[in-house]
Amino acid sequence: MSTLSHAVGDSLTMLRRNLKHARRYPSMTLSVVVAPVLMLLLVTYAFGGALGTGIAGTPHAKGDGEYVDYLAPGIILMAATSGAVSVAVSVCVDMTEGIVNRFRTMAVSRAAFLTGHVAGGVIQTMASIALVTCVAVLMGFRPGATPTEWLAAAGLLTLLTLALAWPAAAVGLVTRTPESASNLPLPVQFLPFLGSAVVPPESMPAGLRWFAEYQPFTPVIETLRGLLTGTPIGTSGPLAVAWCLALTLAGYLWARTAFARGTRR
């Protein structure tokens, strides 16, 4: 019992430390917000006319038929992927600066270091997601979700953020420099584009379409879009949750093994 309470206490200490970092050096938090917001502006205003015409008349056109209603959920999800990058970087910085060896020689719960980073990353990312959502609303995004649907959407996004944060923590542990820690997750950031984030997969060529339909981000985006704008969800809901849980578990195990492998520097 005391082991558990120590683990929780140590994790909270580590979480406080990471939130202090985020508060004091908001540039990392901002970069998590800025990329999706720029994407939102670019795609809505520069390509939105053409893309919106392509979507109009399909079952994807909901709300008042504005393209931003289709796009916003996909972009909100992008905020979650860029949040993962900041977890990888902050873990890697701690590894290279040697402070992790200090923690290892203290009677601190083994899990606390990573748990603190992941929990801090999730909180930071959820704040960014809230900001991106606000910007989307300012740009004309009109979600018609009920409070329950909002809650479900927030829950799904938290789960997704967690599912990305654990593998990201492992990436931070196995990369040698913060630069590579920030580059390695880059392909993951592009995955939503190869799903239904910006355009429906039906508009893609066959091979890509197959990939888009079966990759993990698509059911998450579809569920989110359904919750927020009322498009059909179908089987996407349970599929999204299953993907998130599987990724969380795999990422957690990977990170734990990488951390247990011990000191490298």
């Binding site: 120590h6 206490g9 140590d10 200490t13 406080r16 430390r17 202090k20 970092h21 004091r24 050096y25 600066e97 040697g98 402070i99 060896n101 200090r102 923690f103 290892r104 020689t105 203290m106 009677a107 601190v108 011990g262 000191t263």
Partner: protein, 315 residues
């Protein structure tokens, strides 16, 4: 009581043997120095004893706990300051110390009290509110050591604690280490490449070379093993030197270029008097007389076949 006990400690990375059977016995309340060049295995020894690395073989006990079977027991009793300052650059000096207080689960008030005390002791009080990332190397090392002391460790591992410090900060660190041992009975295992540091701080010194301890003892004992003490006489002209050389034939070694004569001896007053009496009896006049007592550099040279570790290592 024994604070650190190691028997047959071995470690290798693949083919490369780093530690080849190390035995350590360090009584409580003493300072023990591991002296050696880079790559001798000093840091690996510290990392293994402080639970960072597993040993390949050997029985290890630190502060009464078995390192392999009760690492958390060891961790609760030790403090480690490694070669690279392990501070949180984004937090201020004070926040760094309070982070340690939280991780040691100290009550808030006690944590603040210790942090304030350590900031003063390490002359960091003025910089307490500045982020550690902005600190100079010396300040970071001091903050690092202060963080280590927040947990009130019984056994302290210091891996090259003064490497890269200016003379003033080095002295501060030495004073603090002495204080910890004298006032609180802390046991210190220190690694260093500075012979002077080992000489000044350590009760006992072990010379580590290629993963083996090649000599161990007090600074005095190690120096005593050196036959290097001698008296050096310098003469005004070759004639005087020749006379003196004849006088100490078979004992002294003359150097006709420098006009000096080296006579082995320990530099005690009776020895000196005997030498001077002999010279005066033969009416030979020496210009100067110098004494050379062996230092740890000689010891290191003799034991490892290399000059002092500073010269041998690249740092």
């Amino acid at each position: 009581m024994t604070a650190i006990q190691a028997t047959g400690l071995r470690k290798s990375y693949g083919e490369k043997t780093v530690l080849d059977g190390i035995d350590l016995h360090i009584p409580e309340g003493t300072v023990f120095a591991l002296l050696g060049a880079n790559g001798a295995g000093k840091t690996t020894t510290v990392q293994i004893l402080s639970t960072l690395l597993p040993a390949d073989a050997g029985a290890l006990r630190v502060a009464g706990h078995d390192v392999a079977h009760d690492p958390d027991g060891v961790r609760a009793a030790i403090g480690v300051t490694g070669q690279f300052a392990a501070v949180d650059n984004l937090l201020t000096a004070e926040e760094n110390l309070l982070l340690m207080a939280d991780l040691h689960r100290l009550p808030r008030r006690e944590g603040r009290r210790r942090a304030t005390g350590l900031l003063h002791r390490f002359e960091l009080a003025e910089a307490a509110g500045k982020p550690a990332g902005a600190f100079s190397g010396g300040m970071r090392r001091k903050l690092d050591l202060a963080m280590t002391l927040m947990g009130d460790p019984r056994v302290l591992f210091l891996d090259e604690p003064t490497t890269g410090l200016d003379p003033r900060s080095r002295r501060t660190v030495w004073d603090i280490v002495r204080g910890l041992v004298a006032d609180d009975g802390v046991t210190v295992l220190l690694t260093t490449q500075y012979l002077e540091e080992a000489d000044r701080l350590a009760d006992r010194i072990a010379v580590l070379d290629h993963g083996r301890i090649v000599a161990e003892g007090t600074a005095g004992e190690l120096k005593g093993r050196m036959p290097g003490g001698h008296i050096r006489l310098r003469f005004g002209d070759p004639g005087q030197l020749a006379c003196a050389a004849a006088l100490f034939d078979g004992i002294g070694s003359p150097d006709t270029e420098a006009l000096t004569l080296r006579i082995p001896g320990d530099g005690t007053v009776p020895t000196l008097r005997a030498v001077l009496d002999a010279l005066e009896g033969a009416s030979v006049e020496a210009q100067t007389l110098t004494l050379h007592t062996p230092d740890l550099d000689d010891v290191f040279l003799a034991l490892t076949g290399r000059s002092g570790p500073q010269a041998a290592g690249v740092r």
